[in-house]
Amino acid sequence: MIILAPTIFRNPIMKKADIIISIVFIIFSCFYAFLTKNLPVRNLPNTLGSDFMPWLLVICLFFLSALLLFKSLFMVTPEKPDYKISVKEVSGIILLTILVFLYVKAMIMFGFLLLTPIFVAVLMFISGSRKWKEVVIVAVIVTFGIYFFFCNVFRVPLPGGNIF
């Protein structure tokens, strides 16, 4: 049976995430509506402007986000228990983001061949590999394997770097 009473206090963690997400989506739909309002419009006879589809989408998103908020606040549903993000996960995400960012930024300077073994080795270390021989062998094989296939088989040039 549908219970029309705020459930946030009864099952705080599970509903909290959905409530926050629905509010984020409502704010996002307002922001998207603001951007849509400022779109350059060309008025041609018998045509629909560039803003037609975005307006349609923003209305739907706002409505569905409001529905999700309502459902999270007032309805008891047999949903999965919460989705907590652990500290390990957060640190993993941050670490991978930084690593990929640095890899891409440094690629222009150092090039694919020099940087990729280090990138692979660090990733292996993060993934739990502690045998340095295994790390070195895999890092070198992966780098040269990718380089060979992309450059020689598929004819895709990989960045050479500025310092070479």
Partner: protein, 503 residues
């Protein structure tokens, strides 16, 4: 017509295409048999490579991966009770029981043979049904096409999702993402913020790679993946006897029919098909009481079903341009990369390519049968490759693959952003597939919608005055309202029955 069919066969039998099929089978078996790696992930990793290949070679590679990935999933399901792919879940029930009784070789043999049977059954249905559907679909105008695309997206958003609202929000986000870039009809820039790279819109390839691969890498790095046990027993008697296989024909037919039927419904997918086929096979079997305790029919039915799903899922993808599952969505993207637009026009404009797809699927299934039987012991060893080695390889391939698309690291950034988005979506119960499908079909949806409204001079009733379009609209509305209405109706009905019984 026979000339076109023969030309397509000759094309598929070219050495480079046979080689691509073999590579696809080997890669698919690796992906399928490794728990944690999905066929979708394997496909997106190969997508950047298809840029440099011809359309037929690309389809040979990807279809072979699709077919063998489904088979590969059964190896870890049977030996370790860990399905390599979600579609191998039902195989684990009886397959693992057989392995525990020392019949691992027999179970693997049945799985491979049933996969072949299911694949060929699915192909036969695909080849016989799709030309007729395509012929009917040729009569579709803009309103019908809009309603059809809408139906595809809403079915995926609502079918089998935990929350329909979240599924629809995910689909809407995908459509919103696709509004970035130049307006397809007027050429007006939308939401580009002055960034030149955004003018061409967000390419669906980096988005796809990010959505499928990065969440898996992040989960692996976070270390929440269970440790995979090792299988050390000897495997013998893999090649099944014809006499034993004939006893399983009924189960295979049930599995293949259910698999093809379910596969053809957008959004239903392999996991539903395998459990349904397992259940049906159990009901019609003489040995129904032995199901769950190592019954070979319990392996044959789901294994033939999961390979038949491939043929079924290709029917709406090729004829209507509506993918049946995430794998066919990636296949659709692969064809779009090659400048081919799946749908009824594909059958009219490039019939040779369509026949090439059929032949490629047949070659993929034959190669899958031969290579799997001859190398099965190798794949058992592959199960031991640790994640600490796999994850860095996948990450490097994702970065390099997205860079190779346009020789730009902008796409790598897009890929990573989508990866993070996909990770958080998964964590919070938002399905990824609706977003992916909306990203692929979004431009087509907008185009057909706007053309329809221009034809009707802004009158939206055009979608309900055209009978076919009306049918699609009704099914669309039903698909996302039924999960909301059904539980409430069930509760009400239960209450009425309870009151009736008490009075």
């Amino acid at each position: 017509m026979s000339g076109t069919v023969t030309a397509a066969l000759v094309d598929v039998l070219q050495i480079q295409n046979l080689f691509a099929s073999a590579v696809g089978v080997v890669f698919g078996l690796f992906i399928g048999s490794t728990p944690g790696l999905t066929i979708s992930l394997g496909m997106v990793l190969l997508l950047p490579i298809t840029f440099k290949l011809s359309a037929v070679t690309s389809i040979c590679l990807l279809l072979a991966l699709y077919a063998s990935g489904m088979t590969g999933g059964s190896i870890s399901a049977i030996l370790l009770n860990i399905p390599g792919t979600p579609s191998a879940s039902a195989t684990a029930i009886d397959g693992y029981e057989m392995a525990k009784k020392g019949r691992a070789g027999e179970a693997l043999g049945i799985a491979v043979a049933s996969s072949f049977f299911g694949g060929i059954f699915g192909l036969a249905c695909l080849a016989s049904i799709s030309p007729f559907i395509a012929k009917v679909a040729l009569k579709f105008g803009a309103p019908e096409l809009f309603a059809l695309v809408l139906l595809g997206i809403t079915l995926i958003c609502s079918f089998g999702q935990e929350s329909v609202i979240k599924g629809l929000i995910a689909g809407l986000l995908g459509l919103i993402i696709m509004t970035v870039g130049l307006d397809p009809m007027m050429g007006t820039p939308r939401f580009t913020f002055g960034i030149v790279d955004l003018q061409a819109g967000i390419s669906f390839l980096p988005a796809m790679i990010g959505l499928f691969a990065i969440p898996q890498i992040l989960v692996g790095i976070a270390g929440d993946v269970p440790v995979i046990p090792e299988y050390n027993s000897k495997i013998t008697g893999v090649l099944p006897k014809i006499r034993d296989l004939t006893k399983l024909i009924k189960a295979m037919l049930v599995g293949s029919s259910v698999g093809t039927g379910i596969g053809a419904i957008p959004g239903a997918g392999g996991p539903i098909a395998v459990f349904l086929s397992y259940d049906y096979a159990r009901r019609v079997s003489k040995n129904s009481s032995k199901f769950g305790n190592g019954e070979p029919e319990g392996v044959a039915a789901p294994e033939s079903a999961n390979n038949a799903v491939a043929g079924g899922a290709l029917i709406p993808m090729l004829t209507l341009g509506i993918p049946g599952d995430p794998i066919t969505a990636i296949l659709l993207a692969a064809l779009m990369i090659q400048g081919l637009v799946p749908g009824p026009l594909l059958f009219q404009q490039t019939p040779q390519f369509v026949y090439s797809v059929f032949w490629a699927f047949l070659v993929a299934n034959i190669m899958n049968l031969c290579l799997t039987f001859s190398t099965i012991k190798l794949w058992v060893r592959i199960l031991k490759v640790p994640e600490r080695i796999l994850l860095p390889i996948i990450t490097s391939l994702c970065v390099v693959g997205t860079y190779a698309l346009r020789l730009s690291f902008f796409d790598t950034g897009v890929m990573f952003c989508f990866g993070l988005l996909g990770y958080f979506m998964k964590k919070h119960g938002f399905p990824i597939v609706p977003m992916l499908l909306a990203i692929i079909l979004g431009p087509s949806l907008e185009e057909h919608l706007r053309i329809s409204l221009i034809i009707s001079q802004g009158d939206p009733t055009i979608f309900i005055t055209h009978p076919i379009s009306l049918i699609f609209v009704i099914i669309s509305i039903f698909s996302f309202t039924s999960p909301l209405i059904t539980p409430a109706m069930k509760t009400r009905l239960r209450n009425i029955l309870r009151i009736g019984a008490s009075t």
